[in-house]
Point group: C2
Chain length 333, copies 2
DNA sequence: TCAAGGAGCTAATACGTATTAGTCCTGCTC
DNA sequence: GAGCAGGACTAATACGTATTAGCTCCTTGA
C-alpha cells in the first residue's frame, strides 16, 4: 500500500509460505514435471495472490533465454511525420500477427541516425528473441555478426546480401510483373515502354527481370529526375508505343511523373495509351503488393526461427493482379 | 564464422586476456572509479574487439536495473488499419523524443483484447524502466498496483482516477475552450450552443467546463446518435442562435454531424452561423490539440520519473488557438 | 626494518527466475 | 529389517553483467 515499495519476488513468497524459492518457481511456472502436493501448490498460489506477485520479465528472460519479445528495426521512423506512409500496412500486419502469437515488439530508435548510433541500435537488437528488419539497407558488418551468431532475424523484402544467408519475406515481383506484361501482349500490345526509377534495389531489379522475361522487346527507360514531359510521351506515340508500364515504389515518383506527362500531352488512358503500374496505388492496373501479409508472414517466420522450427527461410509472396481502368486494347492494330 | 555459434561473453574475454570477469566488466563498462593499468585496459579492449563482443542487454538490465527501454501501452492498435489515425502525431512525438533521449520502446500487444489478456499485458509492462499509457481506459486494479509499487508510468491525457495519483501529460482544454468562447462573446455573439458528444471522458468534461466558465449562458446540447438534422439547425436560428461550438474528438463525429446539418439547411458559415470546434481538424476555427508535443513531453516526464528527477507529475499543455474561416461577427445584432 | 599507503586487480555477491540433480521421507514387500 | 519405490521437496547452479569490499604487492618514508 505504501508508495515506493519494492515489488514482491519469489523469495518473499517462499519465506511466507515456508517453502524454497525453487518450489515457488515450480508452482508459479506451472511446471508439471516436478511433483508437488496439491496443498503446497495452493498455499504458494495464495500467498502469491496476496502479495500481488508478478514475475520479473527481465529475470525470466535471462533464465529462460526466451522473452516473447521481437525486435522491430525500421531504418527510419516507425511513426513517420508524413501522414501518408505507404509502408504502414506492413507494420500493421506485423503488429497484428505479433498479437496473435503473443509477442510484444521492441521498437528500436536512433535507427536512421549516423552510422555509430545505427550500429549501437543494431547491437541492442539482441534484447529480444529475434528481430525484424525493415528497410533496404543492410549494414553488412553488424548484420553479418548477428547472422553468424545464429541470432534469429528476418528482413522484410528480398535481400540477396551476405551470400544469400539472410532470411526474408518478400514479394514475388518477377512473376507478378511478367503477368502484367503477358496481359498486355494478350491484348495486342507490341510496342511497350517500361519506366524504371533510378534505383538498384532488389525489388526494382526483380520487376525489370519479370518485365523482360515476359516481353523481351520492351524498351526500358531509366527515370532520372523530372525529365519526363508531354513531348516525351508524344514521342512514344510517334514510335508506335501503345502501352507504358511503370515501376511502382513507395514514393510513387515514377507513376506521378508519367501520369502528369500523359495529362499534359492531353492524352487519356486507356484510349490513347494503356498504363499499368507494377505495385502501385490501389485501383490502378497492374498488381498489388501484399504489404499487410508480408508483415504477418515475417512475424511468423521469425517466431519459427526463434523456436527452431524448420521452415523455408526465404519466402516470396504472390502479388494479386489488379484489373484497373487504365489498361485496354491498343488503339490502332 | 560458423553458424549457430554462441556469442562471446565477458567470461570468454577474461579467459583469453588472462584476467577476471570483473576486470572485463570494469574495463568495458568504462568504470573509472576502479583503477586499472592502461596495459590491461588495452589488452581487454583488444580481445573484446577480436571476439566481436557485445554486451547482453538482458543481463545488463538485470544487473543495473536500468535498460533504457520504455513501454508503450496503447489500449488499441499502435498501427491501426484505419489509414486516418487522428492520434498518429502523438505516437510520432513519442518516438521522436524517445530517440532523442536514447530510449527504445516496447510495444505491448494484446492490449485491446479481453480483460485477462489486457491484465497480462499490463503486468508485462514491468519489462521496461517505465511505461507510457495511451487511452482513456484505466484498469484500476493492475494500474493501481504499478503506481503503488513506485513503477514509473505516465498517461497521455488527463487522468483523475486513483485519487489523482496518476502522472500524466494532457492538454489544457479548459483554458483553450474558454478562450474560444470569449472570442465569440467579443465578436458580439450572445446566443450560443455547445454540442457535446455522448462521452464522459475527462477531455470532454474539461471542454464543457471551459465553455461554461467563459460563457455560462451557453446552451449545452448532448449529442446522442444522429439526431442532428437541418430542422434542428433552423430551430436554433429561430431561437436567435448565432454561433455553434462543437466538441472535437478523435472520431470527429460531432463536427461532421453539425457540418452536415448546416449544409443540409442550405446555410453557410460564418455568414449565417459561426462554427468553432474545440480541438478539431486543422484549419477550422477553435483550437488545436498539441498532440505531437504531448507525446514528446510524456516521454520526457517518464524519463524524469525513471531517473528520480523531481518534476511536476501532472502537466497540462497549452492548446494553440486557431483562427479559421468559419467564425465571424453575428449576422444581425 | 617496519608501518603506512596506494596501485592494480579479483572474489564474492547481487539482480530474480528456471532447471536439474539430488535428498529425505514414508510406506510397502518379501 | 533390508531393500526398494515413489512422493515431495530443495540445494545448487545457470543465465551474463555490475559492483563492492578487500587482497596482494610494491613503494615510500621515518
Amino acid at each position: 500500500m505504501t508508495t515506493g515499495r519494492r515489488p514482491p519476488r519469489q523469495a518473499d513468497i517462499a519465506r511466507i509460505a515456508g517453502v524454497s524459492q525453487a518450489t515457488v518457481s515450480v508452482v508459479l511456472g506451472g511446471n508439471r514435471t516436478v511433483r508437488m502436493a496439491e496443498s503446497t501448490r495452493r498455499r504458494v498460489m495464495e500467498v502469491a495472490q496476496n502479495l500481488g506477485y508478478v514475475p520479473h520479465p527481465v529475470a525470466t528472460r535471462l533464465a529462460r533465454s526466451r522473452s516473447n519479445l521481437l525486435g522491430l528495426y525500421t531504418f527510419r521512423s516507425a511513426f513517420p511525420t508524413d501522414e501518408t506512409d505507404t509502408y504502414h500496412p506492413i507494420l500493421s500486419g506485423v503488429e497484428e500477427e505479433a498479437a496473435n502469437l503473443g509477442q510484444d515488439l521492441i521498437l528500436f530508435t536512433g535507427t536512421s541516425g549516423p552510422g555509430a548510433r545505427q550500429e549501437a541500435a543494431i547491437r541492442r537488437t539482441r534484447l529480444g528473441d529475434g528481430c525484424l528488419f525493415f528497410g533496404r539497407h543492410v549494414p553488412e558488418g553488424p548484420v553479418s555478426r548477428l547472422v553468424d551468431d545464429g541470432f534469429p532475424l528476418v528482413y522484410i523484402g528480398r535481400r540477396p546480401e551476405l551470400g544469400g544467408r539472410i532470411p526474408y519475406v518478400g514479394a514475388d515481383y518477377v512473376t507478378a510483373s511478367a503477368l502484367v506484361l503477358r496481359r498486355l501482349l494478350d491484348l495486342g500490345h507490341r510496342e511497350i515502354r517500361y519506366l524504371r526509377e533510378a534505383d538498384e534495389a532488389p525489388s526494382s531489379e526483380d520487376r525489370q527481370r519479370g518485365v523482360l522475361q515476359a516481353a523481351p522487346k520492351t524498351g526500358v527507360v531509366r527515370l532520372q529526375g523530372a525529365e519526363l514531359t508531354a513531348t516525351t510521351v508524344r514521342g512514344w506515340l510517334a514510335e508506335g508505343v501503345t502501352a507504358v508500364v511503370v515501376e511502382g515504389t513507395d514514393t510513387g515518383t515514377a507513376y506521378r511523373a508519367v501520369r502528369g506527362a500523359i495529362d499534359a500531352a492531353g492524352l487519356s488512358t486507356p484510349d490513347d495509351l494503356s498504363l499499368a503500374v507494377l505495385g502501385g496505388p490501389p485501383g490502378v492496373s497492374g498488381f498489388e503488393v501484399p504489404m499487410r501479409e508480408m508483415g504477418r508472414r515475417a512475424v511468423r517466420l521469425l517466431v519459427d526461427l526463434v523456436t527452431d522450427k524448420k521452415t523455408v527461410r526465404q519466402q516470396l509472396l504472390r502479388c494479386p493482379p489488379v484489373d484497373g481502368a487504365h489498361v485496354g486494347p491498343p488503339r490502332s492494330r
